[in-house]
Amino acid sequence: MPNIVFKHADKRYDERIERYVFRDLNLHIRRGEFTVLVGPSGCGKSTLLRMIAGLESVSGGDLMFDELRVNELPPVKRGVAMVFQNYALYANMSVYDNIGFGLKIAGLPKAERHALILDAARQLQLDELLQRKPAQLSGGQRQRVAIGRAIVRKPTAYLFDEPLSNLDANLRGQMRAEIAELHRRQGVTTVYVTHDQVEAMTLADRIVVLSRQGLEQFGTPDELFDTPANVFVAGFMGTHRMNLVPVDAAHAPKLTLLTGQTVHALAAAGIGTVGARPEDIALVEGSSGSVQLVERLGAESLVHLLIEGSASPLTALTTDRSLAFGHQRTLRVAPDKLHYFGPQGQRLSAP
């Protein structure tokens, strides 16, 4: 199992023009780790995955599997296996033949192929479905066949390209658990692309947060949650979007309530944005703001509190189910739970 390393890697949209998907990307995916590439649509996370697979070229720099430079190596020689978003099953073949196709191309003897296919089918509870065609399977079953096709090749790395995005919520949760279990059992390097940051947080050993500007942060879920490197990561990661308040006169009432400081003082300290997670904001008796909206989430509610003098609300998570539109409240947040960012969006320490 290799470490997968990008060294000063570039990727152009078109090899003939100077427009880049990535420039000077340096990324080290450790062997055996479950690494998630997350980011909004169009940020290049699938492109990055496809570069690892060999389906996209590396325009500049190096892609290394340990000491081996793989830029020019075709996909099948890299020893990786990919699971596609829309399954990409071979519609004219049965489940059995779908799983075994790569082994047949590789020239494995029939008996050996049969044993590997049955083993993969057993792991994924596909034993009863081996003679069916993909059109006769449900979405979840098709995804398991796609995973089976990957498992059977005993790859050095699994590459998942948004494999659960076509499934309903219940099935997504179930398949997520199966993928996590697969990684736990086999310990194979896994690179997983998703736009769902909740999925990223639950599955990953480490997360690569990408934006259209490139790599924003690479760290563990806790690091990204507790110490986001910039405003983009802060706003992107977390079940509920962080409250990000720009340091300017229009947001003075919010800033004063959150930090106890004036806009002038914050600006003088070089702070451009103040952040506070809804989970860290406590709603208490007071009249600084009034409830505009309550999103009931079961045991908790996400309350939108419009602070007097502000144009937009802050959000806070609460277990108080009595809150409703128009109720007056104020808020408290512990100083160490506040996040400070500079004018360019970079993380700063507390003033």
Binding site: G54, L55, P75, F84
Partner: protein, 293 residues
Amino acid sequence: MKVRSSGASEMAKSLLHLALMLLAGMVFAYPLLFMVAASFKPGEALFTDLGNPAALLPDARWSLNNYRAVFDKGAVGAYLLNSGLIALLSVGAGIFINSAAAFALAKLKWRGQGLVLTLIIGLLIVPFEVLAIPMLLIVSKLPWLDASGLTIGWLDTLHVQIIPFLANAFCVFLFYQFFKDVPDELVEAGRMDGASALTIYLRLVMPVCKPVIVTAAIVLFLGMWNQYLWPVMTVHTAGARPVMVGLQQFFGRSTQWGEVMAYACLITLPVMVFFLLFQKQFIRSVVGAGIKG
């Protein structure tokens, strides 16, 4: 009251629709039915029965005499065989050649493919008559190696009626449009499994393209079966003559309309059978039912 009148007007609409469809059907079907009926009658009956719908029905005058005469007077059996061979070989090889070209254009990446595609689409608007003379000059000089040795010139052969038409711009474009709808992930999954481009084309993509294969087969079959100008230009002996040229020759030798109609029936029958066998797939392909990967 309102429900009843709406039901009556719906019935009237359906009846009108049916009447119009029947009329249209009769307009299209009448010439074919006339041809079949006339082929069983003596020649003079054809003119006396014109305009009489009952003439389409079998009567005492019906016999197989015209068909016997066709086989006696002309080598229609041999011509049918020639056209059959030409059409079937063209369909077989043409589907492979044109689909392979379309696959390379639609699913592979190589320098110049945009230009090649533009040229192929451009060829769609060039009439065959523009190319016929240059093609004739070329085929009259090309060498051919077979069991009897090396000959120069392809004239008066079956292969001169097949090989120049295997690459068909319309069929390439038909396959190209279909392949564009096949998800790229299917090809990529094949690449990840280690399949070559040829394997992906033959074992992964072509098996899901049955409707368009049938459409291309029908287009190629009809085109090759109905060929007339090129065989007239390149084939002057009976040995390689196809049915359409044979019909023209027969028409020149026989003024018995009943016999001409019998000949026409004989050469129409294989086309009808071919179309009837594959009409479902043809219609599905024409109305644009695609394949989802």
